[in-house]
């Protein structure tokens, strides 16, 4: 089942001197896919991710999320979709500094209107799965980079979103921590069929996903799909 479909997606930045960041991008993502988007700096990866994550509006084209056109939805509707259907993991964990790991995971649930007790229970469960059961009441400044990023993963999963979007989720981690975070995402993908869309510079990381899209100058120039242990070009 298609979870996201982008049709002729365009994004133009700037007033006066215009910069075409996305140029008629067509993309279909299936439910449960583990997809990576690669490309050089300025190729439009993050812009595409912001469009698919409903953080930004496209200049043209359509975005269909679970069969519904959402590219021009109202601000309130986009907030609700970001809260319930999408989970974000950023390069820097971007946890709220004054809140503990547990509270950081609780916040998206409280925004969604969840009961405090239920949110606490769900957050404890997620952090236990992330191996952070002893770090529940630690603030981000008391956690290592890898631990913080795992809290960020838990936060992204808190409302059981349809899609988790990661913008260089391991870009700021050492190799060991990167590997740990990747394994965690892969495990979730396999066990609960969670859809992941990851932007990465790191080809080693990209090659561990099921499909690799390469973006250059705002266009998808190549698409490789995992088949029989290797990748086949399909664009």
């Amino acid at each position: 089942m298609n979870i996201i479909v982008a049709k002729k997606l365009r994004k133009v930045f700037g007033n006066g001197v215009e910069l075409l960041a996305l140029d008629d991008v067509n993309l279909t993502i299936l439910e449960g896919e583990f997809l990576s988007i690669t490309g050089p700096s300025g190729s439009g990866k993050s812009t595409l991710l912001n469009m698919l994550g409903l953080l930004d509006k496209p200049s043209g084209g359509e975005i269909w999320l679970k069969g519904r056109e959402v590219s021009q939805s109202s601000s309130l509707e986009r907030s609700q979709l970001r809260n319930k259907e999408l989970g974000f993991i950023f390069q820097y964990h971007h946890l709220l500094p004054e809140f503990t790991a547990l509270e950081n995971v609780m916040i998206p649930q409280l925004i969604a209107g969840a009961d405090k007790k239920a949110a606490r229970h769900r957050s404890e469960e997620l952090l236990r799965e992330m191996g952070l059961v002893e770090r529940l009441n630690h603030k981000p400044s008391e956690l290592s980079g890898g631990q913080s990023q795992r809290v960020a993963v838990a936060r992204a999963l808190a409302n059981r979103p349809s899609i988790v979007i990661g913008d260089e989720p391991t870009g700021n981690l050492d190799t060991k921590s990167s590997e740990m975070v990747y394994e965690l995402l892969r495990k979730l993908n396999r066990e609960i069929k969670q859809t992941f869309i990851l932007v990465t510079h790191d080809m080693n990381m990209a090659q561990k996903t099921d499909r690799i899209l390469r973006l250059v100058d705002g266009r998808i120039v190549s698409e490789m799909r995992r088949e029989n242990g290797g990748f086949v070009e399909c664009l």
Binding site: S79, E98, I107
Partner: protein, 386 residues
Amino acid sequence: MFEIIIAWRHITASPRMVLFPVLAVALAVMVIAAMMGLMESYREEIVSSTVENSPYLTVEPKEGEDYIHLYKTLSSVIWGYPGVEAVSPRLLGMAAAKYREQVKGVSIIGIDPLLEDPLLGVQSDLVWGDFNDLAFKKHSAIVGAKLASDLKLKPGDGFYLIRKGVSLKLTPAGYIRTGTGADESLVYLPLETAQRLMGEGDVVSEIGVRTSDLYEGPAIASGLSRDSFYKAQSWQDKSRNLLNLLDTQRFFTYLFYLLIFVISGFGVVNTMIMTISRRTREIGILMAIGANRGSIIKIFMAESLILGPPSAALGCLLAYVAAKLIEAFPIEIPAEVYAASRMSILLSPEIFAYAVAFAIMVDLAAGLYPAYKASRMDPVEAIASA
């Protein structure tokens, strides 16, 4: 309400950041509460000194006449009105007081002390002597304390009142201090003595009336004016200019409050804008995880409003301390200019309620723009901000 949880955490995480807006609003609250207390006390003192030192109601001669001739009959008519507590015929005039080489212009009031004391409670204003002595000693007078001091008049010394060739030797039976400018010119005389001095026969200039309710005067005055040909005026009619002046003063004080409101509000706005620019990325993250614009407004409005109660409490405490200091160290002011002899402050519960409302209003108004600004942030730009 996750918004309040976040706002509260922001506040408790940076107590230093909130110290200055709390202090700014607390100082504004203190100034406003103290000013209101001073103004209220001043107004009350003016009203009470006006009411204390003059009758609630005055019946004056008919149109075209200088004196009331049938004052005893008129007094009994006035007694017939409900709520009347005291009626005192009074003869007013000007004369010169002479003691040795000192001469001063004085205002004389001829009265029956047994009728005048229930009208104005004169005895309680005497710093020396007995007001009722005027009933038995025809050549005695109650003299304003400042006048006595200016004339260097001592108890037991005789002095002269002179008017149009008539000269009477009188002995002080007491000194009076009302706390107003009258203290330097007032002389109370027995009515008969005053009538002799004035040379107009058995007449009075006015009849003073006291009613059980301070604010019943105008109704009785209009009844008397309608039923008789005498002109009756309540203290409110007579003090119209003074009351208008106090209202004008109140208007300018409100303008002053408005200025304080704006200045302290700017302090809060400034801190809130600083807080928001410091938390730009955090706002972006909150938006990314689903907080809508309304929630962002609520977070920063709550942050601003949380400052209200401590500002109000501190401001009220400072105002209370200021009031106690003003009470403890009396500040004398010239009674001739201000119609009150000392600065006093009256902090009523209403003033504290206004001060609390003021603090909350400042924080509410000051939080609006920064909160709105935060809610309009673009989440992508906010997250990317350094």
